[in-house]
């Protein structure tokens, strides 16, 4: 194969790859949730407004135990069994939507509540999603609307 024809093949391969990348990029961009596998890196998202404010959602989880005590836990601790970065998303997908919980899910949540409570038996889990206005200069947050609360009896 001559240098010219070899280089032509290489250029054609590059062109084909460029087309594939652009097409899959457009499909991924138009998809409502991120597709996989696609060639992409995290976008992070919108900058705050010019005054340094932006609304975000915070989550708070409280476990109530049979002995009358309560415990506040982070999503990553309660959902420790999940991949670290999936914990909050998985939790929000199922619990914030208000869908009925399966027996399997309820039993699993009870087992996790028992685990984070060092073996104590839990009565309920309360998930509270609160939208807040974040002030980046003061690093402070102010609630801006009524919270979404989901209490799960175990």
């Amino acid at each position: 194969m001559t240098l010219r024809s070899r280089s032509s093949w290489k250029a054609a391969g590059f062109g084909f790859l460029a087309i594939v990348l652009i097409v899959q990029g457009v499909i991924d961009w138009r998809s409502s949730t991120e597709a996989f596998p696609t060639i992409s890196m995290p976008t992070f998202g919108q900058a705050p407004d010019q005054q340094g404010h932006r609304r975000i959602d915070t989550v708070r989880i409280e476990v109530a135990y049979d002995d009358g005590t309560t415990l506040r836990v982070e999503p990553e601790d309660l959902f420790e069994q999940f991949h670290y970065s999936s914990a909050r998303y998985a939790m929000a997908n199922v619990l914030r939507s208000g869908d009925d919980l399966s027996d399997e899910t309820r039993e699993w949540l009870a087992a996790q509540a028992r685990r984070v409570g060092n073996g104590r038996s839990a009565q309920s889990l309360t998930f509270t999603w609160q939208t807040v206005d974040l002030d980046i200069a003061a690093v402070s947050a102010r609630p801006v609307r009524e919270a979404t609360v989901r209490k799960v009896d175990l």
């Binding site: 280089s7 290489k10 590059f14 999940f82």
Partner: protein, 299 residues
């Protein structure tokens, strides 16, 4: 195709061509990492089925998460393929299979509401296998002499550059370039307020009350991610861009606690050659200058 264009393509490919032994070392480190420090996938079969929510794409064809037994089999296969890659027997096939296995593991673990961004790590075996990371210190190399090729790494550089561009473009659209808005400042503050875990230096950098500093962070981020795709035809500048991206990953980890370090294995493929060959543009510039001087001296 003109001779000049053909020569340019060959020059680009030579600029990406790795040294066989350094490249083989990357193969061995990569295989050992997969063998000894692979992420657990068994959790996928242990969590309740109600949480299963695959991302758009081929994983939607699965009606539910695999059983624990199937995931144990996948873990064993991954370990066996890592050994296959380690010894370097029919290395191209081992590399292709490894990418398939990594994509399978990744796709299953992203089927719970969140897609992580380690596709470059997953694709690295495929690119490096085609580029010849089995050309030394392998059973393949014992059977007959082999060499490496720069072309697959040129294509992989295009993939890396495009991946970074997909991060830069939405940021540019989302206000990161607006002089009056501080995006990096916002994301560090958000991590501090809403979690999950702020970076080691998150609190310290939040004490910096300097709009110029925060705007510079935004601009450097968009530039570091955005320019890479435009310099893939200049291997030296591309390497410089990767060094900037590596520094950016360190910054993101320190400020926000987000770990992108697995991608460094993919970037390492572009540095498997003598440091003196990292920037072929320097040789090119020297040659051009010499050629310009020579006709002048002849007259």
């Amino acid at each position: 195709m003109s001779d000049r264009l053909a020569a340019a393509i060959e020059w680009i490919c030579r600029g990406y061509q790795p040294a066989p032994r350094a490249f083989a070392a990357l193969r061995i480190v990569f295989a050992l990492k997969l063998l000894l420090f692979s992420g657990d996938v068994l959790w996928i079969g242990e969590v309740p089925a109600q949480f299963y929510s695959p991302p758009p794409g081929p994983f939607m064809l699965l009606s539910g998460q695999p059983s624990v037994g199937a995931l144990i089999a996948l873990t064993v296969v991954r370990a066996l393929v890592a050994i296959w890659l380690l010894v370097g027997w029919r290395t191209i096939w081992a590399s292709v299979v490894m990418t398939v296995v990594l994509l399978l593991c990744a796709g299953l673990s992203y089927s719970f509401g969140k897609v992580d961004h380690f596709i470059l790590f997953d694709l690295a075996p495929l690119a490096c296998g085609l580029a010849g990371w089995g050309a030394a210190w392998s059973l393949d190399a014992r059977r007959r002499a082999r060499t490496t090729s720069g072309y697959p790494l040129f294509l992989f550089a295009t993939v890396v550059g495009f991946a970074m561009f997909t991060a830069a473009l939405p940021k540019a659209v989302a206000g990161w370039l607006d002089p009056a808005r501080q995006a990096t400042h916002y994301f560090v503050a958000r991590d501090d307020i809403a979690g999950p875990v702020p970076g080691l230096l998150g609190e310290l950098v939040l004490s910096i009350d300097n709009a110029l500093f925060w705007k510079a962070m935004d601009l450097i981020t968009v530039f570091a991610e955005g320019w890479l795709v435009f310099v893939v035809v200049l291997p030296g500048l591309f390497r410089l861009g990767l060094l900037l991206i590596a520094a950016f990953h360190v910054g993101v980890f320190l400020m926000m606690g987000i770990d992108f370090f697995d991608n460094l294995y993919a970037y390492a493929a572009f540095f498997c050659l003598a440091v003196g060959r990292w920037f072929p543009e320097a040789d090119l510039l020297r040659t051009i200058r010499r050629r310009r001087r020579e006709p002048a001296a002849a007259t």
